[in-house]
Each structure stands twice: as C-alpha cells, then as structure tokens.
C-alpha cells in the first residue's frame, strides 16, 4: 500500500512540478486550481513552521486536473512546498491510462480514487500515504448527503477550504518530524 522505493521512484521522476501540471489543464480547470491557490496562502504560524523544515522530502500526488478535491489538496501542497525553502520537491501525476499501473496499486475501497499522495524521504523511501479526502471534507459530505444519519458531531469549520490546508499541513509536518528524528537520516546528516 505504501509501495516500495523501487516502484515509486520512476513515477516520481516522470511526474511534473505544480506549475507545469496545472498548465496542462484546460482553462476552466486551471481557473479552479488558481482560485484554490489564491485562497490558501499560509498564515504566519504556518509559514514559520514550514520555513523551519530541515529534512528534504519528496511528495508525489496522483491526481486529476478535473477533480475538485485534487485542486484543493494540490494547491494546499503547492503552498506548503513554496514555503519550504526548497526542502519539499512536489510533483503531480494525472490519473490516466499512462498511470493506470500506479492507480491500480493504490486503490482505496476498491476504487482508483484520487487524490492519493505519497510523502517520501529524500532517498525515495516512502514514509506515508494520504488520501483520498480529509476528515473535514468527509464530515461536510456526510452532513449534506445523509443529514441526521451522518453521525457527525463536530461543528462545521469556519473556513472549510483553509481547514483542508491545516489537515494537509499536519500530515506533512508529521512526516517531517518522522524524517528529522529518523536514526538512519540523523546518522547520514550527522545531526
């Protein structure tokens, strides 16, 4: 499920950075990604957190240019990468026939869902997989889809878009700490 470095690394090498990936979308899709990017500037606390990252990491996102949740999480990841002083190398792959092997190996609940994101150490070793939607998005969907039967107890977030940014950032931070505290990487870096 996390896949191995041997499997993931060629996909990472073939993937595109954020700007190139978004530029490959049609104009309507591009506007969605640009709108989300505009909504998701990091606040000062988030900026400081990400700016203090010391371990290089890779992030690979299997996504769809047409997909709203992908634009939301993808733009959030782009904002985080932009604030990381190049510690984060973020790449995107479109789910398509060309990436079907990866999509099939990453199925969630029997579906080739997107987005699926791998957080990866500097040498290609996978550390975590995230996807498809975050908790706040599922709570929102459940409230709308099944109402009182949703069993959602938490109140809606004040800003649902920025809540997803916070959720995505929390997972990136978790993996950054994992890598920072990793004995094998501490030995490698002498820190």
């Amino acid at each position: 499920m996390l896949l191995s470095a041997d499997i993931l690394s060629p996909w990472f090498d073939a993937a595109e950075p954020y700007d190139a990936f978004v530029a490959g979308a049609d104009m309507m899709q591009q506007s969605t990604w640009h709108e989300r990017h505009g909504q998701l500037a990091l606040d000062d606390t988030q900026q400081t957190l990400v700016g203090d990252f010391t371990r290089s990491m890779r992030i690979l996102c299997l996504t769809g240019r047409w997909c709203g949740d992908c634009a939301l999480q993808g733009a959030a990841l782009a904002r985080i990468a932009e604030a990381s002083n190049e510690r984060i190398d973020l790449r995107f792959l479109e789910r398509s026939d060309a990436t079907a092997a990866l999509a099939v190996a990453s199925m969630i609940n029997a579906g080739t869902r997107v987005p699926v994101t791998w957080l990866i150490a500097e040498d290609g070793a996978p550390a975590a997989r995230m996807g498809d939607r975050t908790l706040s998005r599922y709570r929102s969907m459940a409230r709308k889809a099944i109402g009182d039967a949703s069993n959602v107890h938490s109140p809606p977030p004040l800003d649902p878009v920025r809540e997803v940014l916070a959720e995505v950032l929390q997972e990136v931070e978790r993996v950054q700490w994992m890598l920072r505290l990793s004995p094998r990487l501490r030995q490698l870096h002498g820190d």
Partner: protein
C-alpha cells in the same frame, strides 16, 4: 504480477491475526504493560457517542510487536476505540508472523511498528496509519530538541495521551465516513 496489497492478501493476514486477549496471551510477561495502558484509557462521552453511532463494519489490522514501546502506547488506544463500537473488527498480528503484511508497509526504509491497515468489511484496503501520530512526534521533538529533557521511565503526559487518542479517533472517523458514503457499499446495504 500485481503490485501493492490486495484484499485477498489482507484477508489472509486478518485471519491469521489475533484479537486482544489472544494477542496478549502470546507473551504473558509483556502483556501487563498493555493491560495497564488499556485500563488507564477512558474515552470521553463525546468520543463514545461518536463511536456508538458507527454503522459500517470496518476491519482494522494492527501490525505490532508486543515488545515495542510505541505499540504498548498505541495498541491499547486502538483496542479502547474498538471496544466502543461493535462495527470495528480489530485484530493484531506480530510484525514477524509469516502472514504479516509488513513487507508492503515499510516506513522510511524500516519495518516500523505499529502500522495499522484500515479496510472495508470485504477487506478492500482503505488507509495505512503509522507509525506514530502527529502529537506523539511533536512530543518527541520537544523532548529531543526542546529545553527540557525526558525523565527516564516517565509516562506520557495526560495532554499528549489525550491528543494521541484523538489522532487515532480522527482516522477511525475518517475511514468510517469514507465507507458510509461509499457508492458501492451504499448499494450493498441499501442505505
């Protein structure tokens, strides 16, 4: 040959895994620490109410080491959550068991534990959770890079313990909502 973990692989591992009592019976000398942690865990009424409202069966497989300190801290949390919901079918399997899926779940180039696989009722994989949660990593980082040093043998501060429980509960809730809203499972259950 397909890559990645499949439902059939997970079903086999799940069948070979043990419930809480059987898992602890595998090493009576070390079981005391697990039981002691479990007895000290009390979910809040809100948490219990949320879990009591779960309606989809989910399979949860904790790949663990009974000797492992992080597993002693987290395994009982997973069990406390499962105890609060008849919909959660939780099993534990030793990392080195012949049927363990750990080879597919390496984290940062290591066979780390605990690592937990969340599945649908028919063993279709949904998510991987591990090794440590964000709040435990923050606690570790504060101990190692902060002003204070850890006291040898000291337990986890209550606020960190509560935060780690909530980290676990959030993933259970996210996966439950994913399954509750799944088109294929709504068709199966007619809801």
């Amino acid at each position: 040959m397909p890559i990645g973990l499949r439902a059939a692989d997970l079903a086999t591992a799940f069948e070979a895994a043990s419930d809480w009592d059987a898992y602890l019976a595998s090493d009576v000398d070390r079981a005391g620490a697990w039981r002691s942690t479990r007895e000290g865990l009390l979910l809040t009424s809100d948490q219990t109410q949320l879990l009591g409202g779960f309606t989809r069966t989910m399979r949860v497989l904790v790949v663990s080491g009974i000797w492992c300190g992080d597993c002693v801290r987290q395994g009982p949390i997973a069990q406390a959550i499962a105890d609060a919901s008849p919909c959660i079918d939780l099993r534990m399997i030793d990392r080195d068991h012949v049927a363990s899926p750990v080879a597919h779940l390496t984290i940062n180039a290591g066979a780390r534990v605990p690592v937990t696989v969340f599945m649908a009722e028919d063993f279709e994989p949904v998510s991987v959770f591990g090794d440590r949660t964000i709040h435990y990593y923050r606690h570790m980082a504060a101990q190692q890079f902060g002003a204070s040093c850890p006291v040898p043998g000291a337990g986890l501060p209550d606020d960190v313990q509560a935060a780690v429980v909530q980290d676990w509960l959030d993933e259970f809730e996210r996966v439950h909502l994913l399954l509750r809203l799944s088109g294929r499972l709504r068709q199966v259950h007619g809801d």
